[in-house]
């Protein structure tokens, strides 16, 4: 499997150059329960998902990517 990921610095590159940073999550939550959900629970839903990716074997930049978890197609 290969996913092409468009790095804002380097352009589209194969996903093997990147580290996956997981689903995009909030930085904090208003209540302890919501914080628990924020930290431990993942949506893992089919369809488009906002994710964090890190160009580890490239420019080492973090950025957000929208990936369809069913088709692996990336981009807005």
């Amino acid at each position: 499997m290969t996913i092409k990921i468009a790095c804002p610095t380097c352009g589209p590159r194969p996903y093997t150059e990147f580290s996956f940073g997981g689903e995009l999550r909030d930085l904090d939550a208003p209540t302890p329960h919501e914080d628990f959900v924020r930290v431990y629970l993942r949506e893992n839903a089919p369809g488009p998902q906002d994710e964090r990716w890190y160009h580890a074997f490239g420019c080492r930049r973090w950025f957000q990517v929208t990936r369809d978890t069913v088709t692996n197609r990336t981009g807005a």
Binding site: M1, P14, V39, Y54, W62, F63, N72
Partner: protein
């Protein structure tokens, strides 16, 4: 004369021979025994599609004899049947069908349960597949990434035309073909045209033709792995054009698997390309013009064609000396070990013709596995794979259109397949029409579950021969339309060796410090430690241990993660990310650093040093450097903090000078003030040692007076050498990881991942003191607050043993397991065994008197050695 060794006999070769053609010329007719029924199988497709000719070539099992080039001196063995493929006593299974019903795996030997253990061994042995070469390391091919604008799979007329057209637009084009373009095509206009096209492409610089390269799958992306003779290519194309053509339709009737029954192109290829007559007397079944052409090819090779079974429209095209059977139908092929006669239904009634060759050109089955497994819009088909049965001109036109990216070809539905009253649908797994009917009657009534139950389409051919038959069978009986769909195509589409799949995975690039060769020259045992190669000892780890505790020693710690944090918001970044208090850290001071994740779990530890002008110098563990960098960059990005993170791991070396005489040694090589007042523990200073500019960092990992000298990597050897020379006065010697393990354990220092688990938060590790809960927010804070409310159930403790301890053993109270020893060893300085281990609370309390594999031990506070830390603060 060139020969190959075939089961001890020398078989002569001619130019262009494949293993199959050479053996056939030498009289070999049975190439394999079938999987279940041990029926004789011989050459059939000659294109590498069917499973009938799998042999072992030079120890490699599962080679297709029909397409494997015969190399001078190669050894070839057949691989199925016992005691041999020719005389196989297991052929008895052919007469025991009722004991091996479809799905017999699920039915036979189910009871008694113990029987399966024995039966399985016998069954596995009996199945007609080759033996893996044991005791021989797999030949792993290197892997290479290739980027190209257009990838064309298949070097037939359509593929070559596509490559030519795409090349004409200036695109970079790669074309891969399993063999050599044209070589697998039976003689005639198509072969000539393909050879001419291939020659044309030789002259085009932006088109590369890779012969002997097999595309095995199309993955999302698209990514196309291509297995070449010497390497695995991972091709990353802009567009893929699948031009894999078609195999002739496998006809199903009783006896359809007998040696002597051929696909038309197979027989023609053997006769026309290799000059080997498939037999003496042939019956030819041809539904197409191409099939008629084969008549001449067979005749030229010396085969007498007794009769041609053709549709009315083609009757005129058959040469007059051959009997024409208009619209006849093959009912059965007869013969015990080889075809001896064909039974036909003709307009004049049933008729049997004695012959030893039956060729079948009854339609075209697209090799569409690659096309169907890809959902990607940038993958399209050209030629016979989408237009089964198309003419040469149509194939070329379709390729040319695909090459320039013109509108996609709508796949043309191939002619429906017809099945006789019986016969083998799936040659790979010996699934007959009767088997499918039996499975259907048992309720397995869709193509997908028929496939799983009967294993049809799951063999080496991956449904190339039988996929459409299975779907047609299901469609004919099914109530719903979905039940008769083709089964899902998945990679690999072609046979792949394990060594090919593993291509490139063994390519780990070891990291060396600048002192690698110096350690080697000093007699170090160098080995992997994470991704680094590091010294474990220099011949005498106990002597190295004593050097640290009693005199002075060096260790190469260049592998530590080293980071410079700079920029306007440098303090804000480290303060927001780490649980360590940093705002009161004045230049020249250092502090132990913990890195947590959002769940509050300890990811890494290290040291933070405050530099002048608001910058920070961070160290992390050797294995955690990349994670530390990624984490810092992530949080800087997410919080919008304006700070630079510079990973200096590779540009800086680091040497730890440790031992009671560490300061004495450095003083010999430096004019700087190294006193406890000038560089306090924990603190750091910029100094010059032996002419090398160093950041000297006071650290306490080994529990003695220590200075970590961080310096430009290019100076590592000079600095190390100067230290060793000046240290002769104190009988200096370097220490490796073995000595370090005991040194740090005596201090109760943990190794992350060895002594910890992925879900350890600081309190569990006794590191609560390193978390400043009274400062502002940091990563993991909310989780630590949440966990603080939970009772402590498990913690890492120091252990003192009564006798020689063992690592990894369970800790017990009575007969109850309450923990585990994670690190331990005999301490020469203390005279008893010490260690670290996990302990679980029992009824709300942590037990203190334990046994570890029979050795008594008790929980004691750490550090074991120099608990006040007087030595390291010296």
């Amino acid at each position: 004369m060139a020969t190959i060794d075939f089961e001890g006999k020398r078989v002569p070769l001619r130019d262009g021979d494949t293993v199959g053609s050479a053996l056939y010329r030498a009289g070999v007719r049975t190439f394999t025994r079938s999987l279940k029924h041990h029926r004789r199988r011989g050459l059939y497709c000659m294109t590498g599609d069917c499973p009938n000719c799998l042999v072992t070539v030079d120890g490699q099992p599962g080679c297709r004899a029909c397409t494997t080039p015969a190399r001078e001196g190669a050894t070839v063995r057949r691989e199925s049947g016992w005691p041999s493929t020719e005389r196989d006593v297991l052929k008895i299974t052919d007469h025991l069908h009722r004991f091996m019903p479809v799905g017999f795996y699920y039915k036979v030997f189910v009871r008694p349960r113990w029987a399966w253990e024995f039966a399985e061994k016998i069954i596995r042995r009996a199945t007609g597949i080759g033996a893996l070469p044991m005791g021989q390391a797999p030949r792993m091919k290197p892997s290479r990434h290739v980027h190209t604008d257009v990838l064309v799979v298949g070097g037939g007329a359509a593929g070559l035309a596509a490559a030519k057209a795409a090349g004409g637009t200036g695109a970079r084009v790669l074309l891969c073909d399993e063999g050599v373009p044209g070589a697998a095509i039976a003689p005639g206009a198509a072969r000539d045209r393909v050879v001419a096209l291939a020659r044309e492409l030789d002259a085009v610089s932006n088109v590369t033709v890779l012969a002997g390269h097999t595309a095995v799958g199309v993955y999302d992306g698209p990514l196309v792995p291509v297995v070449g003779p010497d390497e695995l290519l991972q091709i990353d194309p802009g567009r893929v054009i699948v031009a894999t053509g078609a195999v002739e339709t496998h006809a199903v009737f009783p006896g359809n698997d007998l040696p002597g029954v051929w696909l038309g192109r197979g027989a023609a290829r053997l006769a026309g390309v290799h000059g080997v007559a498939p037999g003496d007397r042939a019956v030819v079944v041809a539904d197409s013009v191409e099939g008629i052409l084969h008549l001449g090819t067979l005749k030229a090779a010396g085969v007498t064609v007794l009769a041609a079974v053709v549709p009315e429209a083609l009757a005129e095209a058959v040469p007059t000396d051959i009997e024409v059977l208009r619209g006849a139908k093959v009912l059965a092929a007869e013969g015990r070990s080889h075809l001896t006669a064909v039974r036909l239904s003709t307009q004049q009634g049933e008729r049997t013709i004695e012959c030893d060759v039956l060729t079948l050109s009854v339609g075209s089955a697209p090799r569409d596995g690659l096309l169907r497994m890809s959902g990607d819009v940038s993958v399209c088909g050209a030629g016979e794979v989408v237009l089964p049965g198309c003419s040469l001109e149509e194939a070329e036109a379709s390729g040319a259109a695909a090459g320039v990216g013109a509108g996609e070809e709508t796949p043309r539905e191939p002619d429906p397949v017809a099945m006789g009253v019986d016969g083998y649908v799936c040659l790979c797994a010996d699934v007959s029409v009767h088997d499918l009917e039996a499975a259907w009657a048992e309720g397995w009534q869709s193509s997908e579950i028929l496939k799983r139950y009967t294993t049809a389409t799951m063999g080496p051919c991956q449904g190339a021969m039988c996929g459409r038959h299975l779907a047609a069978f299901a469609a004919a009986g099914a109530a719903s339309s979905g039940a008769g769909a083709r089964t899902t195509a998945r990679p690999p589409a072609r046979t792949v060796r394990l060594g090919d799949i593993a291509g490139g995975v063994n390519e780990v690039i070891p990291k060396h410090t600048a002192l690698h060769d110096t350690h080697g020259a000093a007699g170090a045992r160098l080995d992997w430690s994470g991704s680094w190669i590091r010294p474990y000892h220099y011949g005498d780890w106990r002597g190295e241990y004593r050097a640290v505790r009693e005199r002075v020693s060096l260790m190469d710690v260049s592998t530590l993660g080293k980071f410079l944090i700079a920029g306007r918001d440098a303090t804000a970044l480290v303060d927001r990310v780490f649980p360590t208090r940093v705002t009161d850290l004045t230049p020249g001071r250092s502090r132990y650093l913990l890195a947590l994740d959002e769940a509050g779990y300890v990811m890494d530890d290290g040291l933070i040093c405050a530099l002048p002008d608001g910058r920070y110098y961070l160290t992390s563990t050797s294995g955690g450097a990349d994670r530390m960098e990624a984490g810092l960059r992530n949080w800087a990005d997410r919080f919008g903090i304006r700070a630079h993170v510079m990973n200096q791991t590779a540009m800086l070396g680091a040497i730890n000078v440790a031992g009671p005489h560490a300061r004495d040694l450095l003083a010999e090589l430096s004019d700087d003030d190294l006193s406890a007042g000038a560089i306090r523990y924990p603190g750091h200073a910029e100094v010059t040692i032996a002419g090398v500019p160093c950041r000297a960092v006071r650290v306490g990992f080994v529990g003695e007076l220590s200075f970590e000298l961080h310096h430009p990597r290019s100076c590592s050897v000079a600095l190390w050498t100067a230290l060793i020379e000046a240290g002769a006065e104190w009988d200096i010697r370097p220490h490796g990881l073995d000595a370090l393990d005991l040194l740090r354990m005596e201090k109760g220092h943990l190794y992350l991942a060895q002594d910890t688990l992925p879900d350890d938060y600081p309190d569990k590790l006794g590191l609560g003191w390193a978390v400043a809960m009274d400062k502002g927010d940091f990563i993991g804070r909310s989780s630590l607050e949440r966990m603080a409310a939970l009772p402590s159930e498990r913690k890492l403790v120091g252990l003192r043993f009564d006798a020689e301890p063992q690592r990894g053993v369970p800790l017990m109270t009575g007969d109850r397991i309450v923990g585990r020893v994670t690190s331990c060893g005999h301490s020469p300085s203390l005279g008893y065994g010490v260690g670290l281990g996990w302990l679980r609370s029992v009824d709300g309390e942590f037990p203190s008197a334990l046994t570890a594999n029979g050795v008594g031990c008790r929980v004691v506070p750490t550090p074991f050695y120099d608990p006040e830390g007087a030595r390291l603060r010296a």
